[in-house]
Symmetry: C2
């Protein structure tokens, strides 16, 4: 018997590299950039960026904030690091120090950049083509005085690339092509993220931005996932006990035993990223056998019903995520998407991170 | 106009201290311990523990995992640090190095401790009195050979202390008193957490464990909150734009404008802790005016409708949480509790943390 207390996050760097190379092969001719924002969706931007730099020759990285670039910079020094949320007074110093490349998405940002240019750096310009999130609108391009040669990359972002036949995909593509032709005919361009590369060569342009799919998320749920899961999440049983008929379990007594039950207290909770909405509805696994979560998930612990699973001991590991029950599956059960789930799990230093 | 990109988490240390002292005054005679697990629910365990140590003379701290103790240890060196999830092979070294106090909750943990005792350390023993989570069951106490003098603290945890008249409160109290009398008559005891201190002097015993309420969460929703909010969360507008009738916004085009709208892209998303379940239903504020969240919340950005709010500029700060719309309010809107919300927000280093 092992006595363990910490949840475990296992990341297969080998499969990560394999996913990246597979996705790259789908958009041959385009540069494959790696999106490692939000600490590489929680699984460790330093480890991910280092691996992609060293083992997949990746030289273009996207983060959301300059503070995220700061963490990976020492490991990818001669790479280009683009910062999606742009540049501001609260990040200017880091941009200057690390020669980061801002993604400029509004006329106000452009004005800020023009007053704070950094030597040898040409920013990316983001235009909006229908997502109606960040990006210059068509009218902005007409209104603002823009010199194409001041920019190193033209980019936009698709809104419905996870839905193969959505009419907005082609509408955004046509708009991107048209605005590029009009304002940036000679600038390298990027439109597709992980889901966009599945839409065909027309969407590739000069650079694709590979994020979620590299981490094993199925970004194209309309088809069988051909991407490998790279994540396993486990947590040890701290205690095994029984409930008698009528006993309650967890906060606010939301679970009441209708018969004698055997329960395990597992060392993972919403503080670790297991969504509390799975209280009384979710499940964990031992082997491939599922054990229902009973009662409220608490910050550090989850109670599960192991009545039907023989031979468990304190210290055995419950499986939260594995190849047969992925981040996406957990996302569906938790009424959200794998992206949000993955982003939550990696954020707690309680996890023992294991890279293999 | 300021150009800003990062979300901001403001924490009032002054109000934190005030909350702690107020709660302490409710349980005079008992030691007030501070619960700083999960990085003090995300707001910074180092800052919280240092402040309580220096300004409120707190000398007893509870964390969930030894790795959490490691962070606060240098700032509270002569204090007692209890580790709620107990001790195991994956944490033994830290316990030895920092002289941490394990909370022993199962016979298996006790056996592990007996084989790995640390000089001069007497662990706490947790017994279960009805929560049916971690803790020795009554039968365990009868079965296992326990020497009272080996322990420094007897503790248990209430399941329904947030519901004043719940019958389980007194049932747990009576069970705790009875087991203490039988097995630990001379050991200091602790039953109440932040919500338990509102149940009356009978629940105080020798130590109360103050956590959530110190951070401004209303742990006793059956009464008006007399605890001060200590948290403000803000995020800058990155861009202001318009939607024409029929335009979509955000991923999967889940929002469609029925009339011309003015929108703001705010630099906060689910990666920062804003629950994605608030897509198309939540709100942010400018002053006290609410701006509905439209479309899907994405990892880094949230789109909101500012049609009815005049005079906004890029760089202005949207309010996500404030005194008038607290962590608890956001929790209710996101179909969960303030605890889970607070625990999420603090985990992203993108936040500019401001302690005042």
């Amino acid at each position: 018997m092992s006595i363990l207390t910490r949840p475990i996050l296992e990341i297969s760097i080998e499969k990560l590299i394999s996913n990246f190379k597979y996705l790259s092969s789908m958009s041959k001719g385009a540069i494959s950039a790696s999106v490692v924002k939000d600490n590489a969706y929680g699984i460790g931007a330093v480890e991910v960026a280092s691996a992609l730099y060293n083992q997949a020759n990746c030289r273009h990285f996207f983060v959301a904030h300059a503070v995220e670039a700061e963490r990976i910079y020492p490991f990818v020094k001669d790479a280009s690091i683009y910062v999606l949320q742009g540049i501001g007074e609260d990040s200017l110093e880091l941009f200057q120090k690390l020669k980061l490349i801002p993604v400029i998405s509004s006329p106000e940002q452009l004005a800020f950049w023009n007053s704070n240019k950094i030597k040898d750096i040409k920013p990316a310009l983001q235009i909006d083509t229908g997502l109606n999130r960040l990006g210059f609108r068509e009218q902005d391009l007409a209104d603002v005085n823009i010199n194409e040669q001041d920019f190193s990359l033209l980019m936009s972002h698709l809104s419905c690339a996870d839905i193969k036949d959505h009419f907005l995909n082609n509408r955004q593509l046509e708009k991107f092509k048209s605005l590029k032709q009009q304002y940036f005919p000679n600038t390298p361009a990027s439109l597709a993220a992980s889901d966009g590369v599945f839409l065909g060569k027309d969407f590739d342009f000069d650079m694709v931005r590979l994020g979620a799919a590299v981490y094993g998320i199925n970004t194209v749920p309309y088809r069988q996932n051909i991407i490998q899961n790279i994540i396993k999440i486990k947590a040890p049983i701290l205690q095994i006990s029984t409930l008698d008929t009528g006993d309650f379990a967890g906060y606010d007594a939301s679970y009441k035993a209708m018969s004698k039950r055997k329960i395990a207290i597992v060392s993972i909770g919403y503080g670790d990223g297991l969504p509390r909405i799975l209280s009384n509805t979710g499940k964990v696994f031992f082997g491939h056998e599922s054990a229902p979560i009973i009662g409220r998930i608490s910050m550090d612990n989850t109670i599960c019903d192991i009545t039907n699973i023989p031979n468990l001991s304190v210290g055995d590991l419950a499986t939260i995520v594995d190849d047969f029950y992925t981040i996406d599956d957990l996302g569906t059960d938790a009424q959200t998407i794998g992206y949000e789930i993955l982003s939550r799990f990696g954020k707690n230093p309680r996890f023992a991170f294991k890279y293999a």
